[in-house]
Amino acid sequence: MVYFILKRLIQSVFVMLAVALIAFSLFRFVGDPVSQMTGVETSVEDRERLREDLGLNDPFALQFYRFSSDMLRGDFGFSYRTRQPVSEMIATRLPATLELGIVSLIISLLVGIPAGVFTALRPRGFATQAILLTTLVGVSIPTFVIGIVLIFLFGVQLGWLPTFGRGGTTDLGGWTTSFLTVDGWRSLILPALTLGVYQLTLTMRLVRAEMLEVMRSDYIRFATARGIPYRKLHFKHALSNTMIPVITIIGLQFGGVIAFSIVTESVFQWPGMGLLFLESIRFVDIPVMGVYLVVIAFFFVLVNLLVDMLYILIDPRLRVKEAS
């Protein structure tokens, strides 16, 4: 078990190195950093001196080493656009995206899993067909349309909920959270719903498919033949077996939510990482783009690591194999 986690950690380090390499190449080879920093009137000699001072004439490997070790120390460089340290910019934006992602994940799980179980247990019912059809419509519509429809409905027509920004936030030593004020929650609902709808459908359909499969399995038939009460049969025997493959996908999806919340964030003007990334693209703010890449990759790796550990926790077959 320890060995297994260690193996995964080492793999993660290599993944992060590869991503850092890509981010670094972006930084180094897309455009010329010196001409990005200097104006037209800078002389060629000055440029050369700057180049030498910044170490841009050093060998590639040395530059990459410097880049990675700076990253490790949390020194992400400066934004071209705002001249602020990138680490600060990320730190102010990250909580917004993470909170949005977590809430939308929770929505999708809270609705998706029960709905998946329900539709699996009554595969032919009217309600099942209705749910399947509505959610199909839900995924077929692009995220931004859902966002705009929600804004129109709840923001403009009914006027119940704010349509942009984070509303009231509280600063908890560098981490601004929307969770502590009513206004913050109100602002969170629409974007989280928008981001969660796709997730929800996916989770539900996945749970349903797996559950149908599990319900056909021999151990469920055997448990039925032993007269185990149906509630236990469905929610203890069947659901836990259903969740094993579902967890992997949910984990991957959560990474995806963090990474691709861009559309939702721009629809709701949500001050998160995605919006930051969009602004950076517009201004060719390469340092921010590079760091964004590395941070997102880090979350992907982290979530996958967590999923692997959850796996061991749930499935005794893996646990024992690793231990023996």
Binding site: F222, A225, R226, K321
Partner: protein, 560 residues
Amino acid sequence: MLDVRGLTVKFPSRRGDFTAIEGVDLAVKPGEIHGLVGESGAGKSTIGAAIIGLLQPPGYVSDGTMTLGETDLRSLTPSQAHEARGDRISMIFQDPQTSLNPLMTVEDQLIETIQAHSDASTNTARNRAISILEEIGIKNAGDRIKAYPHQFSGGMRQRVVIALALCTDPELIIADEPTTALDVAVQSQVLDLIRRLARTRDIGFILITHDIGVIAQVADTVTVLRRGRVIETGETPQVLGQPREAYTKALMDAVPRLDRKLDRFSTPDDGEAPSAPALTTGIDAEDWLMEGAAQEHLGLEVRDLSVRFAGTRTSIFRKPEAYVALDRVSLTVEPARVLGLVGESGSGKSTLAKAITGLIQPSEGVMRLGGEDLPPARQRPRDHPARRLIQMVFQDPYSSLNARHRIGDILAEPLALYGLEGDKAKRRALAAAMLELVEMEPSNIDRYPHQFSGGQRQRIAIARALLARPRFLICDEPTSALDVSIQAQVLNLLKDLQTKFGLSILFISHNLAVVRQMSDDIAVLKSGQIVEAGDSETFFTTPSAPYSKELLSLTPAMPY
């Protein structure tokens, strides 16, 4: 105790109701083991499912009465029926690997089942669970009960399954193929256990199986089924010993005998049996094969072959311990003869087949085909002649044919792959002719594998192997997935083809009776080592190794 009269089960479909079971009568007394025997599709499992009330929808009981003691099973409400399940009627399934919830400990599953039917406290339930596990022969039950299902071996797992069926003290247990997935040694232990439980606890058993040997060994009474109807019923010695009905007789004849070798199996005259097609085009395939057969007969020699698999790594500092699948195995398949390879599951039979076909890399040893060196997997190029000369017929005909290809394409593939026939039209003609040779309609060539039964698929698999013009055939459990009558047909076919074309065959099976019928020589494999090898008849009459003797004595003999 259990009394079933005129049971009829129907499955509604678009073209009207399909009657799966019709007018079946069945009676089981306490302490009696009642065998239900028949081929696949006979409706054995459907009867069991109807009694316990777990028919797969949309199937339903349309007629008949079922009473257990004083209770009318048909008049129970769904929730009453669910309470009766486990409490009064239990079930044992075929595959112990899949019938236990992998995520729960044996303890949790046992306690949960006991508490579902009584008000026992968790402690009482645990004590009862432990005593039941001890009763059915699990040593150290107090500790073992904490284990998860995968920590038990196959036979032990089936014991746990039996314990689960038993822990609520039911009156009737329906055992659906309880030993089919087990090795002979384990099978005989489980059957002994079932018999003991029937005697000591006065539980009635319905034993559903296609294996007549199992019925002969333990059942007190037996019902023979065919296509949802009762053919014959009565005391086991009478039904199997002096069958009144022709079908029972034919079924008995199709069972491979362990005690003597027959030239051919007699096959029951079944609807599915191929109506011997006119041998017009089949001759073409025969001629074509004969051309290939003009080559000399090739034998195979294996010397000191070892196969090791990497074990799971447990530490970074220790090298993972290798698992030895084959340990210096030497055997010889004489040219144009059949070598039967027997052994329990996990003994390395299939590993040997894979090493010979070049699918896995042996760690050491020499293989020679017809006197020439046969390079091991990694050194054997894709176009090495042995890749054509050695062909394989697999165990499971359901997964060994590509479901997305037509039969014609499946059969023509070896012809194109090995460059045996350049012309597309000729390839198709040969494929059709070969179908005829394996006693199937050549017009089947444009159909898909799922349109055929298991036996027919296995014929197609044989035809595909033959179309490579092989000189050496490896048959890995070719009939273990088939019914006895179909098995008899396929074995007859294999035998005919072998003698006609002088093929050398490595015939792998765990079924000793089948091996006796098929092979000239025999080799016994145990934990990756050859225990005994030699002439087949000598082996069956006077086995020398203790393990061989044990194996032979455990195989259910047919006293009738």
